[in-house]
């Protein structure tokens, strides 16, 4: 009991001494980098529709996503995306480019352990939880939608 109190006291003391991240500059950088990524996506989408007028809008969306994923993986391989991420934080993690980076970076990192046991096994170590939660959430939403339809 006494030890617990000492630990609590120490942890409260540490908490008070921890340097805090400056919120406004990080929010600002995150905001504008995230915005630029979205702008690039929109640009690709508009360009596709302009060049191929007969293309369905949904097909253009798919190509836009593929292009963004490719660009982010490419920048990851060049060692650029981690620098963008360090600067922008959430701004470059939240868009689909961040998702792409979270899969390609472990794939590169663990290639020395072999294709199967390295790249394939470790590829989803970072993105795995996102995929699992996404799938589970979509199942839950689907169930609600189905039940609501019955009523």
């Amino acid at each position: 009991m006494k030890n617990q109190q000492i630990n609590q006291k120490y942890n409260r003391y540490v908490e008070a001494r921890i340097p805090k991240t400056k919120a406004w500059p990080s929010l600002f950088n995150s905001f504008w980098v995230g915005g630029v990524i979205c702008l690039i996506g929109q640009g690709i989408n508009d360009a596709l529709l302009y060049i191929f007028p007969s293309m369905a809008e949904q097909t253009a969306w798919a190509w836009t996503l593929i292009a963004l994923i490719f660009i982010a993986s490419f920048l990851t391989a060049l060692g650029v995306y981690d620098k963008i991420g360090k600067f922008a934080g959430g701004g470059s993690i939240v868009p689909i480019t961040g998702f792409s980076n979270s899969i390609s970076s472990p794939a590169i990192e663990f290639k020395h352990e072999g294709i199967i046991y390295g790249t394939c096994v470790k590829m989803f170590t970072v993105a795995g939880p996102v995929i699992v939660c996404g799938v589970v959430a979509s199942v839950v939403v689907g169930l609600i939608y189905y039940i609501a339809g019955l009523i």
């Binding site: 617990q4 000492i6 630990n7 609590q8 120490y10 942890n11 003391y13 540490v14 001494r17 921890i18 340097p19 805090k20 991240t21 990080s26 990851t76 391989a77 060692g79 995306y81 981690d82 620098k83 963008i84 991420g85 360090k86 922008a88 934080g89 470059s92 993690i93 961040g98 980076n101 979270s102 390609s104 970076s105 472990p106 590169i108 990192e109 663990f110 020395h112 970072v126």
Partner: protein, 330 residues
Amino acid sequence: MQTIEFKRRPKIIAGYTIAGPKEGQGNFGKYFDYVMHDDIFGEKTYEMAERKMFEQAVTGALQKAGLKSADINLLLAGDLLNQIISSSYTARAFNMPYLGMFGACSTMAESLAAGATLIDGGYFENVVCLTGSHFSTAERQFRFPLELGNQRVPTSQWTATAAGAAVLSLHGKGASVCMATYGRVIDYGVTDVNNMGAAMAPSAADTLINHFEETGRKPSYYDLIVTGDLGKLGSDILIDLLEEKGIKLGANYCDCGHCYYSRRQDTMCGASGCGVSASVLNGYILNKLNKGEYRKVLFVPTGALMSTTASGQGESIPGVSHAIVIEAGE
């Protein structure tokens, strides 16, 4: 008693340090024997690069000491990787009896204290103490892939790419290891793996308090009191913890991790890893001791004894810290 005095005063007859390019640009850059051009060091993987650094450190230290590997009675080595592979594979390359050490980032003091004890006991003549760390191997084992675009929290530290080896001997010239205070494992319940300084500071405080009590010395007795990789936050906490007990650390106190990189290098709270204290001791401190600029140094690196499994299960981070007293030779 945790403190022992060495009657025969084993000497550090040679020290060799090797560091990565970023570390070479840091504040201790000019004291390293060799600065690598890149982190991969001409190898296929970073793990192999770390091993090559260790091997070069041993070869370099032996060369400086003028000894052959057959003259070495024992190799004491440790590192941060699982099952201390860098050390064991290095021992494989040299034909020496080997004891693996694990004290996380306190390994340099642990191996020197153990080595000095064994030599003082009269069982060995020449012992090599070796440790180091590599940013890229530690990062993949403890944190995220290198290319992942995430941000570091303000309390985080940058694992240094560096290794250091010291040759302890009964004969020869050099700074002598006079005392050692073996540390207890102290855990104040810090669970944040990004705040190692706060987790380890209590162990450094405990060892220092015991050292000062048992020897009757004051911090001002030493020209330099140096901790390993507490970082900025951790060393501030240590100063506070000691002040509570009435021990005041003055201008002669410094933390290797805190001063390791220059401010421009943006490493948050500073450097961490076995390589930090190993390279500062074998590079900077030995240099100053041999020149006579320092006479008495108290070297107290700390280690965070955590693993990814234990932290994943919500365990707190225990710390350990060993102190050794090094005095300049006559």
